[in-house]
């Protein structure tokens, strides 16, 4: 017979070696003493039949609720290794979740960017190593035979494209939901744009390092790329978003093409030009911050 009196470290087994229903019920209710509970637990670790019997004494609704939440959490997942690392590093998980929806962070996008860069860099390398003869555009003093014009044109534009895909409503299928939601439209846009910027700068900078050219090239391109993106965002507070992105693209492409045709040495890397970029960047940042309410209402037509 079972003996479940509290306070006694007594026998806890029935005749067949398993705790009886009463004992399991008392254990489930927390109504037996510790040492008897330890015995029950030791038995449960080895006996599936009694584990099932014990489950009958647990609130079924509670088990069902935990089960459905468990399955949802398993379905949502934890976002992958990068997200886990970033989360441990202190970034709030919900911001990471929002950023994960950005199209310019998807593998397909990044692969296309790398593909374009490979073509452009390949062409510059071909010129450098004499496999094809170049015209004289993009000439740098001290580096004869370099053809960097295509890369200078394309690099910052790729970064701009990544950021445009991050903030333009046309690239967000659920943009109306984001517009109707309390989460700040400006913070959302900024988080996505910054991550797209970082994601795009990595391959562009890597390509700039690998290109046979001056070593300062990657660094010199950072500021113009940043400025271009800041300009597009600031313009989006005044113009319709698509027009703002296109305008930024044209403002970079036209001078780059003209300079290449006119055979002027790389203008953008000179100190004055860099300072000019920095000034424009600051101005755009100020405009963006001052007019950030524009992203909160009526931005989606």
């Amino acid at each position: 017979m079972t003996n479940s009196s509290p306070g006694a470290a007594g026998p806890v087994a029935g005749a067949d070696g398993h705790p009886g229903e009463d004992l399991l019920a008392s254990y489930a209710a927390g109504a037996i003493d510790e040492v008897a509970a330890w015995s029950v637990e030791a038995h449960l670790t080895a006996c599936g039949r009694c584990r099932s019997a014990l489950s009958a004494h647990v609130d079924a609704e509670r088990l069902a609720h935990n089960r459905s939440v468990l399955l949802v959490r398993a379905a949502i997942g934890d976002g992958g290794r990068l997200r886990r690392v970033l989360r441990r590093g202190g970034l709030p998980d919900h911001v990471l979740g929002l950023v994960a929806a950005t199209p310019s962070l998807r593998r397909s996008w990044l692969l296309s960017v790398m593909g374009v860069l490979a073509v452009v860099a390949g062409e510059a390398a071909a010129v450098r190593y004499g496999w094809i003869t170049a015209g004289s555009p993009g000439r740098i003093p001290g580096y004869p035979g370099q053809n960097l014009a295509p890369f200078l044109l394309v690099g910052p534009l790729l970064v701009l494209a990544g950021v445009a895909a991050a903030f333009l409503p046309m690239f967000d299928p659920a943009c109306r939901l984001a517009a109707a939601a309390p989460f700040s439209g400006f913070v959302l846009l900024l988080a996505r744009s910054v991550s797209a910027l970082a994601a795009a700068l990595v391959p562009v900078a890597a390509a700039a390092f690998l290109l046979p050219g001056p070593g300062w090239l990657p660094v010199a391109l950072m500021l113009p790329s940043l400025t271009l993106c800041a300009f597009a965002l600031a313009a989006a507070t005044v113009l319709p978003p698509r027009a703002a992105a296109v305008m930024a693209a044209i403002l970079w492409a036209v001078p780059a093409l003209l300079l290449a045709v006119d055979d002027v040495p790389l203008l953008i890397v000179q100190r004055n030009a860099q300072f000019g970029c920095a000034a424009v960047l600051c101005a755009c940042a100020v405009v963006l911050l001052a007019r950030r309410d524009r992203f909160e209402w009526g931005w989606i037509r």
Binding site: A8, A9, G10, P11, V12, A13, G14, A15, D16, G17, Y27, A28, G30, D33, E34, V35, A37, W38, S39, E41, A42, L44, T45, A46, G48, R49, R51, S52, A53, L54, S55, A56, H57, V58, R62, L63, H65, N66, R67, V69, L70, L71, R73, A74, D78, R88
Partner: protein, 200 residues
């Protein structure tokens, strides 16, 4: 009452979970969540924290079923994960930000020590000696020896300082040694004849 032997045993279910079979996870949950909930509730009275720990446990099983090396019972494997998830949940609930990494291998090694102790209970003498300890000392023994936690983890579970856990364990061991020595010297003087578990 559900049948104990389903189509697959626990080890097969765990292998299926490692392959990404969600139905196997559900089956494993249905078999083990009940006793896990009760056993965790005995260590922590807050139902929300226990619910989170149970969810976290099966999520960890879902993600890291591949780490199960087949040594030791599946239930013990789950318990090893469960008790550590409970510690994490308690820490989160009390606002602490430090997280404990989960170590799979260690939990299996500790389980066998637990088995050894509990075999002693089955035969009654150790059980009686344990029953004579005060509740705080028993709690410290349960956390460090039975559940296999470190002193730091046990401190979180019991809600006391780590030094307190260490001193309680020490006092508990001293008391147990004394009680067992007493029993050894004169089993008849205590005049307790305990029946075996029914397994001898």
């Amino acid at each position: 009452m559900r049948p104990e032997a389903g189509e697959r045993d626990d080890a097969a279910l765990l292998r299926a979970v490692a392959r990404g079979d969600e139905d196997a996870l559900t089956a494993l949950y249905d078999r083990h969540a009940g006793w896990l909930t009760v056993r965790l509730t005995r260590r922590c009275a807050m139902p929300d924290v226990v619910d989170h720990a149970v969810q976290d446990t099966f999520l960890a099983v879902w993600r890291e079923a591949g780490a199960y090396r087949g040594g030791g019972d599946v239930a013990a494997f789950i318990w090893g994960i469960g008790v550590r998830r409970l510690i994490d949940a308690i820490r989160r609930d009390s606002g602490s930000r430090w997280r404990l990494p989960w170590r799979a291998a260690e939990s299996e090694a500790v389980v066998s020590a637990e088995d050894q102790v509990l075999v002693g209970i089955e035969h009654g003498r150790l059980g009686q000696a344990l029953a004579e300890l005060s509740p705080e000392l028993r709690g410290a023994i349960e956390a460090t020896v039975l559940d296999g936690l470190t002193c730091a983890e046990a401190a979180v579970l019991l809600g006391v300082a780590e030094g307190t856990v260490k001193s309680r364990c020490h006092r508990a061991r001293v008391a147990l040694r004394a009680a067992l020595a007493e029993q050894q010297a004169g089993p008849d003087t205590k005049a307790h004849r305990r029946e075996a578990w029914g397994t001898s």
